[in-house]
């Protein structure tokens, strides 16, 4: 025969068991979530960007826009070719440069440069940009993404390391549209 007191003690024990499991689950959830969110935490801590060389300046003649590639700073050995990223380098007048991301500001497809008509065109949804990266036509809401650059000892460096996307905040390392020179 079970007496009511017994029953309530068993109920209490079961509740304690559930509570104990809940605590263990919460304790385990913390490291699991940190593991899943590690790419975000990493960006907060040290950032994905660093200064990368695009090569000697003489590869980029004045007044022209040339294709360039770099190896992403953060890669794993099994990333293969996906660690190689392309960009467009425009040598405006021999002294100033513009370095555009390859990704269309609409949905990230690779834009192509047409020197004859001085336009960048996107093969996906038909976005087009002028030579200074500003939007010419099509669905993009803004101009091409532009990297910061610096010149050191005859070499062109850009600050890069993360795929640019339309939602990135203005304080990210890309050149903001407001500060872009009109050339």
């Amino acid at each position: 025969m079970t007496n009511p007191d017994d029953l309530s003690r068993r109920k209490l024990l079961m509740k304690m068991g559930v509570l104990f499991n809940g605590i263990v689950a919460a304790v385990l959830a913390v490291p699991i979530f940190r593991y899943i969110l590690s790419p975000v935490a990493q960006e907060r801590k040290q950032g994905f960007q660093s200064w990368l060389s695009l090569g000697e300046l003489n590869q980029f003649p004045a007044g022209q826009t040339r294709f360039a590639t770099y190896r992403n700073p953060l890669v794993n050995p099994w990333d293969g070719k996906t660690g190689d990223i392309a960009c467009w380098v425009r040598n405006v007048d021999g002294k100033t440069f513009q370095v555009f991301a390859i990704n269309c500001a609409h949905l990230g497809c690779p834009v192509r440069w047409f020197p004859q008509s001085n336009l960048f065109m996107c093969p996906c949804h038909g976005g087009a940009y002028y030579q200074d990266g500003s939007r010419a036509s099509g669905p993009p809401e803004r101009g091409l993404f532009e990297y910061h650059y610096k010149i050191e000892e005859g070499e062109l460096f850009i600050k890069a390391g993360e795929m640019p996307t339309p939602g990135q905040k203005t304080q990210s390392s890309l050149v903001t549209l407001e500060t872009r020179r009109c050339v």
């Binding site: 992403n72 392309a86 690779p110 996107c122 010419a136 099509g138 809401e141 795929m163 996307t165 939602g167």
Partner: protein
């Protein structure tokens, strides 16, 4: 035979499932549900089983590494005996699965099967549809080629637009700052473990509910669903005019499923596997990425939405659609089931089908994209060059050299981004042509900085020749104000 029976008895004495299975198989269903309209669910299930099997077979060879995935697909296609066939079965299986799931959904909707008491069955079904689409998208990523790479970029660009947390979502989705090995591993885990696991669980619940609640009775106009009476009416119906599911109805399911499997195999055999297209090397930019068939409509929508509408539609649209699908059985849980008495339901299906079909059709030939090599590989048809002056032909050269042809077609050759120019001179005067070329507008870039005055003159004089025979050139009537219509000379005005 006796031995098999003995083994079965021995097993069942321990498992104790024989009775339940027999009752489930032989549960009575309304006679007219043994119909060819009621076979899509079981066919989707059978194709799902095929996907699990072929998926496991592919996993024997496939390497989920950004550096090696593409190579392992080449080995599957060319190095392993019949590897191409297993890939093709899996690829075509996925197309068939999406198609059948959609058909199943349309049938269930038109037959009112989502109404009381099967609301939850419908809701689980909505999740099953989303998971099926999730499998299709993640599977496309696993075929790690150029389309997959840039498709991921597209997904990231959409995700980044979520206010506030967009960039963080992108980093979690890609597993880092760029599309790379971590991205593929993530999608591999989703495609192989997470979504299939959820699919199996949800399919089990879905099926359990179909058995427990009974298959939807054939909708009769006038037989109205009421929560108070429906369950009793349904049981009377199955008792009065029912037959056991096995073998009364199941033979149609069996035949249809086998036919579908045969069709998958035939497509796999005849058309072969999907891709992979070019190597996933982001420095190879001579590519025109496009999604798989069932996402073509989305590709079209993304091209055709006005820029300002895009982010709201992308972020809010799916939420509205999913909420509408989930709310449907609660809002319309009672009432008429028959499509004959639900004209709005039928019209909605037609509207959605026409819209999706039309967008998909547009997605197959992407009229919104410039034809990237039209300027260098497409010719100007000879009828536009015959009997033209040197200046006009010079203009035709400018037309090619400045890539006008990439967006504008002549005699249907060239891009379709902008209007075809076969009859532009009948629509635009010289002044309008010059203005359009130099200033652009109406979704055309301005060419003022990129054309010398001589080039503009030549181009416009070529454009002025572009009109069908017999059609007059567009005329600026303001120019003839004050001119004598006969002589064309200024009218002398008496002071």
């Amino acid at each position: 035979m006796r031995l098999i029976g003995q083994i079965a008895d021995w097993l069942d004495a321990r498992l104790q499932v024989g009775q339940t299975l027999r009752e489930t198989a032989e549960h009575p269903v309304p006679r007219d549900t043994a119909s060819w309209f009621y076979v899509f669910g079981s066919a989707a299930f059978v194709v799902f089983i095929l996907q699990i099997f072929t998926g496991i077979l592919l996993a024997l060879i496939y390497v989920p590494s950004a550096g090696e995935a593409w190579n392992s697909l080449q080995v599957l296609n060319h190095g392993i005996q019949l590897g191409w066939f297993v890939r093709a079965l899996h690829g075509w299986g996925s197309e068939f699965m999406v198609a059948i799931v959609l058909l199943h959904m349309v049938q269930v909707f038109l037959f009112g099967a989502y109404k009381f008491p099967r609301e939850l069955t419908w809701i689980i079904g909505v999740f099953l549809l989303l998971m099926t689409l999730g499998m299709a998208f993640t599977g496309q990523v696993l075929r790690f080629d150029q389309d997959a790479y840039w498709g991921l970029g597209l997904g990231a660009s959409i995700a980044s637009r979520v206010p506030g947390v967009g960039p963080a979502i992108v980093n979690v989705m890609l597993g880092g700052p760029i599309i790379a090995g971590a991205t593929l591993s993530r999608f591999f885990a989703m495609h192989v473990f997470v979504i299939p696991g959820m699919l199996i669980a949800f399919v089990a619940i879905h099926l359990l509910m179909v058995v427990k609640l009974g298959i939807n009775d054939w909708p009769m106009p006038g037989r109205v669903v009421r929560k108070a009476t429906y369950v009793q009416e349904y049981h009377e119906l199955t008792k009065k005019d029912g037959l056991p599911f096995v073998p009364g109805a199941v033979w149609k399911d069996l035949c249809f499923s086998a036919a579908i499997l045969l069709a998958v195999a035939a497509c796999a055999m005849y058309f072969g596997p999907f891709g992979p297209s070019g190597r996933p090397d982001p420095t190879i930019i001579q590519t025109a990425p496009h999604p798989d068939f069932f996402f073509l409509w989305l590709y079209a929508v993304l091209s055709l939405l006005p820029p300002s509408m895009e982010t709201p539609v992308l972020l809010i649209g799916p939420v509205i659609v999913i909420i509408a699908l989930l709310a449907l059985p609660f809002v319309f849980g009672e009432g008429e089931k028959s499509w004959r008495r639900r004209p709005i339901a039928v019209l909605s299906i037609l509207l959605i089908a026409v819209a999706l079909g039309d967008f998909t059709h547009l997605g197959t030939f992407t009229p919104w994209s410039p034809v990237m090599d039209a300027w260098s590989s497409d010719s100007i048809p000879p009828q536009f060059l015959h009997n033209r002056s040197a200046l006009e032909r010079q203009g035709a050269l400018v037309f090619q050299e400045k890539q006008c042809h990439n967006c504008h077609a002549l005699d249907n050759i060239g891009g379709k981004r902008g209007p075809a120019l076969d009859s532009v001179a009948a629509r635009r005067t010289q002044d309008q042509l010059i203005r359009q070329v130099i200033q652009g507008g109406g979704n055309m870039p301005a060419y003022g900085k990129n054309l010398s005055p001589a080039e503009t003159t030549a181009l416009v004089s070529f454009l002025e020749t572009l009109r069908p025979e017999g059609q007059p050139a567009a005329k600026d009537s303001s120019r003839s104000v004050g001119l004598d219509p006969q002589s064309g000379k200024p009218v002398s005005v008496q002071p």
